[in-house]
Amino acid sequence: MRHGFVLANPGFEAPGPVNFISSGNVLLWKSSFLLLFGGLVVIGFFLATSRRAGVVPNKLQFAGESAYGWVRDSVARDIIGEHDYLRYTPLLVSIFSFVLVNNVFGIVPLLQFAPFSRVSFAYGMAIMIWVIYNGVGIARHGFVKYLKVQTVPAGVPAIILPLMVPLEFLSNIIVRPITLSLRLFANMFAGHLLLILFATGGSYLLFHAEGPFTVPAGILSFVMGILVGFLECVVIVLQAYVFTLLTATYISGALAAEH
């Protein structure tokens, strides 16, 4: 990221979306390597915790099993239901841990970049989930009946169906992947932008600006930056949880019996 302009320019230039865009190929930049690294961390964690698994769990196994068990009990079973949840638990655990680890990269010193603050990676995740939940629904119901499950709401008088069916189609098939990806992206992006803003603004106010109140304002800016950092910690976990929860909701909606 280009922060040098703060030193070079006489005035302060607020950071913007340009700070997130690399020059050159996106696939050969920090974010894609971090994404790969995140995948390896997740695979390594679950391999390490499930290796030498015993009836009486050791410490590592307990950590892995409680992560798995939490997603299974509080997301998969509650949302998808007793009948089908075990089939989709591995998927949900992978999604949750992958998104969580990648978001945590945003506040790890030296890494300091959440790959999902580049919208293309969030699009990739959302396309994958779109294919999965539609595929699951078509496999369960067949194509025509699946469309009926997704677009014809139960208990609606026939006279307003022409209005409801296009709306339901739009909301359940088209808008879902867009909001799913943009939610993750926008939260990561906005949080990171706030951190950059308070850090660069604070350093500018402390060391470069001239005026009576610049030093207290700079200190306040750094304090706000630290507080926003704590807020980021909450948002990181919450967004990973919301992403998993929505995936489970979409799968459960696709699996739902005829209304």
Binding site: S74, D78, L182, R183, A186, A190, V242, L245, T249
Partner: protein
């Protein structure tokens, strides 16, 4: 006050974020109320509250995307 040039996109986005803000406030107010009245329902209410929060937040997210795109 310094004068400057720029777009009003961010002002518009700030205005549009009021709606989801109120909505998210109402959702968590209802969640807190429900939990205070029946603490044993907390685990049932939590996914519903988070889901409602995510759906209300979608409006703010569409707003931020359009604020940068337009």
């Amino acid at each position: 006050m310094a004068s400057g040039t720029g777009t009003l996109n961010m002002v518009g986005y700030g205005l549009s974020a009021i709606g989801p803000g109120i909505g998210i406030g109402l959702i968590f107010a209802a969640y807190i109320n429900g939990t205070a009245r029946q603490p044993e329902m907390q685990s049932r209410l939590q996914p519903i509250a988070i889901l409602g929060f995510a759906l209300a937040e979608a409006l703010a997210i569409i707003g931020i995307a359009l604020a940068f795109a337009l």
